[in-house]
């Protein structure tokens, strides 16, 4: 949306090393990033560029080797409801219905039953799954599952939604629909979104800002503010200009890596 004012998330010199067969692998090296409240940021890059690692450190699933990850200026120490994660493989609880999955967070945090019910109703409606509210995950399509996953973190008062290639497993049409719906929800709720993708088009279509990452070692290469008005037209000339520019930036790493 507008220019960043207060950083909800700040990464300073964030680095992550893995041991692999006795070798040290730099999954992420010296990443610096500031995200403002309400901003939609896309991380883009080839596989191995550390975009998922970065997201998982912010989620609290992994610890950084060096550097710090701060949320509202306080260090992130493990997973918490203020940072909701949407996984590519959904991560829904198969034994809970759509309602049960959405209620999981609020119930775990001890919200009174009546309040949980209201919350669940609201978010089932927000993602348009009223007819499937009592269905189990295995009865839903991929797109519906991902709607549940989104509703689940929103119902749990997540301030930042972390999305790890959430639409990667969906077919093109479902994917476009969910992109539109996500933007709609984002605009209505003032969420902050950190969205990992390997699709340039998806990044430009969604983001306020695209962060380009490059592999070997994984690092943040450059950033680009997307100022195109929404809804964005993926076949417009200016959209294509940005696409070309980003494609060049991504491509240059491959060339460099090969050299």
């Amino acid at each position: 949306m507008s220019e960043p004012t207060v950083p909800i998330l700040e990464l300073k010199g964030l680095s992550k090393q893995f041991e692999f067969n006795g070798d040290r692998i730099d999954a992420l090296r010296d990443a610096n990033l500031r995200v403002s409240k309400g901003e939609f940021v896309c991380l883009i890059g080839a596989s191995g560029c550390g975009k998922s690692t970065l997201l998982r450190i912010v989620a609290g699933f992994e610890k950084a080797t060096r550097g710090s990850a701060l949320m509202w200026d306080r260090p992130i120490e493990g997973p918490a409801p203020d940072r909701g994660m949407v996984f590519q493989d959904y991560g829904l609880f198969p034994w809970l219905s759509v309602r049960g999955n959405i209620a999981f967070g609020p119930t775990s945090r001890g919200r009174p039953r009546a309040e949980v019910k209201d919350t669940v109703d609201r978010f089932v409606e927000l993602v348009g799954l009223q007819r499937f509210a009592d269905a189990y995950p295995h009865q839903l399509s991929g797109g519906m599952k991902q709607r549940v996953a989104i509703a689940r973190v929103l119902a749990n008062d997540a301030e930042i939604v972390l999305m790890d290639e959430p639409f990667g497993a969906l077919d093109a049409m479902t994917r476009e629909r969910l992109q539109d719906e996500l933007l709609d929800i984002w605009q209505r709720t003032g969420l902050t979104v950190l969205f990992v993708t390997h699709s340039i088009e998806e990044a430009i279509f969604l983001a306020d800002r695209v962060v380009v990452m490059s592999p070997g070692p994984g690092r943040i290469d450059s950033q680009m503010q997307i100022t195109l008005p929404r809804p964005r037209d993926v076949v417009a000339a200016d959209f294509n200009d940005i696409r070309r520019e980003l494609s060049l930036r991504l491509h240059s790493h491959h060339a460099r890596k090969a050299a």
């Binding site: 609880f93 198969p94 999981f104 967070g105």
Partner: protein
Amino acid sequence: MSAGAETGTAAPLDATQAQPAPRALPPFLKRLKQPVIASLFPLAVVVFWHFATYGRKFSLIPPPSEVAIELYDLAFGGIYDDAFSQTLLTHLVASVSRVYGGFGMACLVALPLGLMIGRLPFVRQLLDPTFQVLRPIPVTAWLPLAMIIFGLGPRSAVFLVFLGAFYPVLINTIFGVRSVDPRLFEAASMLGCEGTSQFFKVVLPASLPAIFTGLRLGLGFAWVVIVVGEMTGVQTGLGAIIMEARQLSRTEIVISGMIVIGIAGFISDRIVMWLGGRLLRWSPNHV
């Protein structure tokens, strides 16, 4: 359950696509189709059995009609009026109580133990190797030891049933707990569910399908083991009359006992499956 789901989705397809369906059966016949098919094979076996044994004076195996009469006499009496007449219910109740007693105790021990071995590395390192060594020992090999420890009588029988049911429940519980998708722990913790509540809200429900498989196998084994268990010198029980009838060369009683065990085991399996079907409606690939 799966059969019901299939017909549920197949019915509308049939109506639209296979419009001229000359061989479509009326619903009540359709429901009979499955049991009819299922009974073809046993019927053939009985027919074969009949012709192989009927009218042969020195056949050691009695014909099916004799077994049927014996079965009736065992259940209701009034035909032979010997020591076995009208005793079926007593024996059945004795066996059922031992099967469920041993099985219940196996569950009481194996379920918490399996959950702990699956979740706590220390308990796993402490106990798992021992169980791996004990597991291949057949229940029959335990028989002499059981009789020494528990004496002649029902306690040995229950112990052997316990042993038979114990390992399937234990192994499947461990498997269930250990194969919980790690993603679900991440999902739970980012939603604010941590520590012990994760055990109850994630581990337990996620491993329920495997646990149920274990219960089903365990109960099956309990029925398998009951005859061996009742070789320990108990007076009642289906295993006991089989052993006694064997000594008296009353083969028709032996076969009657076998049939009753088969049917009782089948019914108890159906009960577990029905329970599982209700509890695991969410699971796409269960029973």
